[in-house]
């Protein structure tokens, strides 16, 4: 083991190293906290992980004047939240990148242990806030696998309808911010304009624009509202028209192509080694989509294609997302055409409360209803893993129950978390101006990364 390295103090370059006095540390002026000298006591060495040899060894081959380490974030407009990157530059060229995360760590996995299985949905939906319904679906599937309950066909169809619409809205934001970061500001306006259309439908159905807690273990919170057919039909007409706008704007736009083609390349093998999934993997040419490979909620009944790219660059990822919007709308259309009748939640009385009329008639039903919503239902002991294809890749939920009403452990396999490991590979030896293009094309959601 190497000697414990102490944290470096930060001061403005070119000045003398400051003598840190008490008042400087106490008053939170700019950077004063950073100047605080961290003691490396025996106990904290391991906690801080500072026993590890620093990765940032000085590379002698680089000319000293040219080398510079730039800190980007955590408060930066194009890091999509609170991502922080340490970038080692050699002139204009990025040599090494180190993502630093955790600025949005919310302790959701801890909170999940204090909530019952039914309440858990409110927690997970706030993880990946651009795809809340996917989080809920994944969590619900894991709970249902432990419970072993059957979900009625209508509930499954609505789940697919809602999650595919959610995929569209998520990809719209991804393309919008991708455009904005590279300078196509109109994309931002366009993307959010169409997203609003889907969000209105979500608000009508679930009561909220985001963070719905609509898909729950055992089914759904409510049926689709009256007149949903017209809303979906309008979405199906207006979004493809809007996508045409984007295509006119970007598809053959020389500036856009110049800024994205051949930028941020990652190969299929690298993707697999680093656990990268979703559009990034498909843009590298691997037709891997959990909707096809390991279908869930009856999605295998619908006809759609897996969109792939070939070069694995920023442009391909953008093309894959646009293609996936079209495919998702295709699924939505099929679901809407063949929406089964029936119940929107399971009839299993262990999991779902008795219907409204029964509560008026019978005392037992009232008690049952009360117990389900206060104590929650018990889930048989066991451990399981359910995975679905979220807009950013494989979203998994690892759930352990000890037979009580709350999980012993709930862990989310967050696609953005693993995808972020691809950033140093994509950005190595590229120009510094392409940094934002790479980040945007990866589309990390920090809520998903840090949880």
């Amino acid at each position: 083991m190497a000697e414990p390295t102490s944290t470096t103090d930060i001061w403005v370059s070119g000045t003398e190293a400051p003598e840190v006095s008490e008042w400087m540390v106490a008053g939170t002026d700019e950077g004063a906290q950073e100047m605080e000298r961290h003691e490396t006591t025996e106990r904290s060495v391991e906690q801080r992980g500072s026993r590890v040899v620093d990765d940032w060894v000085v590379d002698d081959t680089i000319d000293d004047d040219e080398r510079m380490i730039v800190n980007m974030g955590p408060q930066h407009p194009s890091t999509h939240g609170v991502l922080r990157l340490n970038i080692e530059l050699e002139g204009e060229i990025v040599r090494r990148v180190k993502p630093i995360i955790g600025y949005l760590h919310t302790g959701m996995e801890k909170t999940a242990e204090t909530l019952t299985f039914l309440q858990g949905g409110t927690n997970v939906t706030r993880m990946d806030y651009l795809a809340p319904l996917h989080n809920e679906l994944c969590y619900s599937l894991a709970v249902e696998r432990l419970l072993g309950v059957e979900i009625p066909p209508r509930a499954q169809a609505i789940r697919i309808l809602m999650t595919e619409l959610n995929r569209v809205s998520s990809h719209l934001v991804a393309t919008a911010t991708n455009g904005m970061d590279i300078g196509a500001l109109s994309m931002m306006m366009y993307g959010f304009r169409e997203r609003e259309l889907i969000l209105e439908f979500f608000e009508k159905t679930t009561g909220l624009r985001m963070n719905h807690n609509y898909i729950r273990p055992g089914g759904l919170a409510a049926d689709l509202p009256d007149g949903w057919e017209e809303d979906v039909a309008e979405i199906l007409v207006r979004i493809p028209r809007a996508i045409q706008d984007y295509e006119d704007l970007l598809k053959e736009n020389p500036i856009w192509m110049g800024r994205t083609q051949g930028i941020g390349i990652i190969t299929a093998d690298e993707c697999l080694a680093y656990g990268v999934t979703g559009p990034t993997l498909r843009a590298a040419g691997v037709p891997w989509d959990l909707r096809k490979a390991q279908p869930y909620s009856g999605i295998e009944a619908y006809d759609f294609e897996v969109v792939t790219g070939s070069r694995g660059d920023v442009y391909d990822r953008y093309r894959v997302r646009i293609g996936e919007i079209h495919q998702s709308l295709r699924i939505v259309e099929q679901v809407a055409d063949a929406m089964p009748r029936g119940d929107y939640k399971t009839g299993d009385r262990k999991v779902s409360p008795p219907p409204r009329q029964r509560i008026d008639e019978s005392m037992e039903a009232l008690i049952h209803h009360f117990k389900i919503y206060t104590e929650g239902f018990k889930v048989p002991a066991g451990e399981t893993y359910a995975a679905i294809e979220a807009p950013r890749g494989e979203l998994g939920c690892y759930l352990v129950s000890d037979g009580s009403g709350a999980p012993l452990r709930m862990h989310t396999r967050a696609p953005s978390f693993s995808n972020l490991q691809a950033l140093p590979i994509m950005m190595a030896d590229s120009l510094v101006a392409d940094t934002v293009a790479c980040i945007a094309s990866l589309d990390p959601v920090m809520g998903d990364v840090d949880r």
Partner: protein, 156 residues
Amino acid sequence: MARLTAPPQFLTTTLGKAMRWSQQQSMWPATFGLACCAIEMMATGTAHNDLARFGMEVFRASPRQADLMVVAGRVSQKMAPVLRQVYDQMADPKWVISMGACASTGGMFNNYALVQGVDQIVPVDVYVPGCPPGPQSLMHGILTLQDKVMSGELAR
């Protein structure tokens, strides 16, 4: 001989009022998007809801050029020093809006990781409730702040 016929073109006001009016009308927010609320903040700024109607569409990336910090989302223990530093970097006069349940009180995440209310680290002028607050709520919060600045309650 031509005579000056136009009516006299001047206004009278007090210096304080003029100052408050100008502060109110060009309040530039700093982007401080943290979590889900940030997406709604972005939605507020874009076409459908159009914050430009209130002279606030210029989201500044640099805190030096901003007057208003919209803390949109949950503030973790790791982020708190950064947030305070950004606040300190903003030039006076400056205001803070705490957007969403998480920024105001920690929201549903009452645990080790979150600062339970951003008012523990920066002074907050307006709290916007909701999880997430819709664009209309945020606009209402911003208009409330503008009213308060104009009335002198929060003028700096």
